[in-house]
């Protein structure tokens, strides 16, 4: 099956810093999504981004499907950005949604 790897696995930032999270996948996909899991375990959908670039406030995401990767940019990070960030891909010709390994982000004041 498709492999989805994220880097870095852990990231520690001071408030106000910028960061880039990466998601690599091993095969063609139908779509790609980014999620944030807050400290209470709730997963929030940040982006549905099969290709191109999208922005939502301080967050933006870019997917280059032909090169099998996606990037999530967090600018001017805040303590509320802490948690785990996952990317998930939908395998071609199926509806299977497969998650990456996650990046744990800690933002300190």
């Amino acid at each position: 099956g498709i492999q989805v790897e994220q880097s870095p696995p852990d990231l520690i930032l001071q408030e106000g810093a910028n960061s880039t999270l990466r998601c690599n996948f091993s095969d063609s996909v139908n779509n790609l999504q980014w999620f944030h899991q807050n400290p209470w375990g709730q997963l929030i959908n940040l982006f549905y981004i099969p290709s191109g670039t999208k922005q939502n406030g301080r967050l933006s995401a870019t997917t280059v499907a032909t090169e099998r990767y996606s990037l999530l940019y967090i600018s001017s990070s805040q303590t509320t950005d802490s948690g785990v960030y996952f990317c998930a891909v939908e395998e071609n010709n199926t509806d299977k949604l497969i998650f990456g390994t996650g990046t744990r982000l800690q933002v300190f004041p």
Partner: protein, 111 residues
């Protein structure tokens, strides 16, 4: 707003019991998913369903079964609970080719 509701936030069951985890979505989504999340292992897909009465195995289906009799409801069944099924269980729904939304999770402990 899309709402995905899981029947319990916390659940404690005994080894050998039959356990039902229920998930209901209110947005007429075609797809529904069950994952389990364990420390260091991320989210692993147990089963998913792309239509009523249709189901597909995910990566770790052993020891689980599912039921989707109505479009809005997707049930995960542990036929005979074991301690290695202690985990966080997460349900999600999505339209075809659309954003997935998650429930709040059920933390199951099997003693």
């Amino acid at each position: 707003d899309v709402k995905v509701t899981q029947s319990s936030r916390y659940l404690v069951k005994r080894t050998g019991e039959k356990v039902f985890l229920e998930c209901v979505q209110d947005m007429d989504h075609e797809n529904m998913f069950w994952y389990r999340q364990d420390p260091g292992l991320g989210l692993r897909l147990i089963y998913f369903s792309y239509d009523v009465k249709m189901k597909e195995k995910g990566d770790i289906p052993e020891g689980y079964s599912v039921s989707r009799e109505k479009k809005e409801r997707f049930s995960l069944i542990l036929e005979s609970a074991s301690t290695n099924q202690t985990s966080m269980y997460l349900c999600a729904s999505s339209p075809q080719q659309g954003r997935a939304f998650f429930g709040q999770g059920t933390r199951l402990t099997v003693v």
